[in-house]
Symmetry: C3
């Protein structure tokens, strides 16, 4: 986390640049560089607060704020009507977590520890949930793409809201599952009971609030720059959504996962990747559908590329969890699949 | 099973209604309400007979008559040329078994017993078979949808008959497998050796014959009402086939599965769901293709919706069997996927 | 291997036939009958050499020459510009290995030994790799088929080269993995340490060189006859590529796998099937893309049929490896899926 802190310098730079009416492309880059450490800071603050609030509320806070950065960025993209960016960043977060984060963790951890084992039982529960959630989320899109596409976006908002409500209900139920009825399954994860808070509760709350406000400001800069950056660099909005935004929003989390893998805590590393993907689908996606009702209703119908990426990610997550073991070659292969997907998006 | 018996009153009502030339939509509803208890009665009679016939013939009878109701309904739909209804009810039975029945069983059982375990080995054999069977059944359809659709229904009957013969041969072989060469795998299931027959053999046979005849009569009422019910309620034939008919034909079996799950016999509950799906694919589907030769040859080429539903069901069945464990949240998720599929079919 | 040797008589026959200007269709058949024993001889020679070279270089040689026959046939097909044949033979080799070879091995072994067990751990590593490799290889094709097909073959060569390089790098890394960093996982396979070389090193090298030269000659006969054989027998080039060529190129390997299964060495039988598939994807496919740069660049974009076949094969390989057990019914089912795929290709 240390080196990320130096990147906080990009916050004042970006604000000054904004007043100097710097080009939107540069604003996009500065905002991206600012959001990375802010997301890390937000994560740290949430963890500190959870020391004071006890494990239950702490777990809930960690879960809810874990993807807050992406939620905020997507909110501003939604406001601008950039539906394609919003939807592709949902799919992009999932493949980023499963292929990039997990791949990098397995590679880094595997190089240091040869073969790493993890608790199959916990990972299987999460990866099953991920399979069911992705299947549920994708069914309307799968059906849509097989019927005449001219019908698209007419009555799909209704279906999207139904799906969003079902996903959100499952999210609530999964919290009840993990914090009440089946909390014993998850107890293995949090071994560092000896750890104590570094910050006072007051400081932690202050940092959390400040980070949230700053992320919101920077997200607005970022979103305003999307159009300009796609033109300057010949990128598609789609590539920005599926590759760039998820990397910006998750960089801090990614580094935590890799650090955990290097400490041979592969369970934690995998839980971050799969758990974060689950949250994107069960919490972030439905909340964005609900928020879109404030502006223009957004349907949750993914395009074929996003579907393929989501299904690939789920199949791989399920395969990975079956093993109960990981090594550097598995990591390399996940990264290779990510690279091929990114290259395909870039070229097509 | 008790409350289902009161529904037998709908049999005389439906027959009287037929003579009074009641509207076909109402006949559809009355026939549906009659078939549900009749299917239960047929199952009970088959089980009674198996006490007298010994486990081998009994197992065979249970297997063959397990889906007799659906076979009879489909036969009449076939006679009417309602190919779409026949094919979608095959796919609908599989997703109904895997998502609705298994989901409800896991939810009901999980609420009572927290985490339920089952014999992974037995379930894995069935779910592997289901994967291979669905893949085999879907390959011609997958190929068909990628070539020019104008060729459809020209030479696909030939391919359908080949596939039907292969499926039927595997069905015969699977009976040899489970009753002769590998009967020891399945011995765990049938623990209630102490149970005795409640009925005389004569009574059981009489009930079986009577139920079969009545189901045939009611199925004819049901099928004649399909066109009218789709018009009155604005449903597609497709929705009737994939959602309504499988629920009507399997309701009795469904309730058995849920009761077994609540008795913590999760092995039996899962075997009912997966075994019944297998039988639909390896026995009911080929028999319908063969029967269609009496009228107009029916191709077994599923449409894209049916394919998606089948593949989703198989992936989920395989995932579920991997765990060796189930809980209420897993049940809720299977139900949620079913709900989303049903809503998509309803809206699209 | 013995009966295969008598087939060597087809080599002089084919050469005499060539001088007598026999019709290309007959040359195709004679060449096919010659290649089958030659591929077996090449395998034997490679194994003999590995006795002298030690296990590391021996393993590498076995791996590299294991698919040499297919590489040579494909090279000549490439030279002739028969891209469809080349690509479909890649997909065909994978399904041939997973469905035909593994199915036949499980059937033959299962009939003799009832239930056969194998080392799940080793097979899981291979089948995970196969999943990742196939997913990586298919992503560009999946994306391509969802966009306007009129764009095809314009900029896909670039993407194909990127994918080929990534696959080849993973191939090199997988050699490092299995011969250096994780060689202990694979040590179980090679138990017959007591065996000694039957041939001198000089003889083995001579046989290898002679077999390679003869395979090259016969491959040229074979490829020249493809056009004629498709016309005479009403077959598509596609059928030749996906069914016939893989059977010709792999027949010797296939018989080894079945023999191993009958000796109850199921681990070895499965490793041959999955390992050979992996090599086709990670080594043969990229090398063919590189070689095509000498003539006309070939894109590695599979058509929908090949994609479906590849994905089916991978799903089944992953399911099979999960069990850790096999029996004759599983074998029959794999063969049934192969038969259905072959029948579909034949009819469509």
């Amino acid at each position: 986390m240390k080196p990320l802190k130096y990147m906080l310098i990009f916050i004042p730079i970006s604000i000054i640049a904004e007043f100097m009416h710097v080009s939107p492309s540069i604003m996009f880059i500065l905002a991206a560089l600012s959001i990375i450490p802010l997301a890390g800071l937000m994560g740290e603050a949430t963890e500190e607060i959870s020391f004071y609030s006890g494990p239950k509320i702490g777990g809930f806070l960690n879960g809810t704020f874990g993807n807050a950065t992406e939620l905020i960025i997507s909110f501003f993209a939604l406001k601008e009507g950039l539906f394609e960016v919003v939807k592709s960043s949902i799919a992009g977060s999932v493949i980023g977590n499963i292929l990039l984060v997990l791949g990098a963790s397995m590679l880094a951890g595997g190089l240091k520890h040869k073969t790493q084992t993890f608790n199959k039982k916990v990972v299987e529960v999460s990866s099953s949930m991920l399979l069911f959630a992705v299947v549920g989320l994708c069914v309307p899109a799968l059906f849509t793409h097989t019927v005449d596409s001219s019908l698209l976006n007419t009555k799909y908002e209704g279906l999207s809201i139904i799906v969003a409500i079902i996903m959100f209900v499952i999210y609530i139920l999964s919290l009840i599952f993990s914090f009440f009825t089946h909390k014993d399954i998850y107890s293995v994860d949090h071994e560092d009971e000896g750890a104590t808070a570094k910050w006072t509760l007051r400081k932690a709350i202050l940092v959390l609030v400040a980070a949230t406000v700053l992320i919101a400001i920077e997200s607005e800069f970022l979103v305003s720059g999307i159009e300009s950056i796609t033109e300057s660099f010949g990128l598609s909005e789609f590539f920005v959504g599926i590759i760039l935004i998820p990397i910006i929003g998750n960089a801090a989390e990614h580094s935590t996962s890799v650090v955990m893998a290097m400490k041979n805590k592969m369970d934690v590393a995998i839980e971050i990747a799969i758990g974060s993907s689950l949250q994107i689908i069960l919490f972030v996606a439905p909340v964005l559908v609900f928020l879109s009702l404030l502006f223009t209703p957004m349907s949750i119908i993914f395009n074929e590329f996003e579907l393929i990426a989501l299904i690939v990610a789920v199949l791989i997550a399920n395969r990975v969890s079956n093993d109960g073991e990981s090594n550097w070659l598995e990591g390399v292969q996940l990264l290779a699949v990510y690279l091929i997907i990114a290259a395909s998006f870039f070229i097509l």
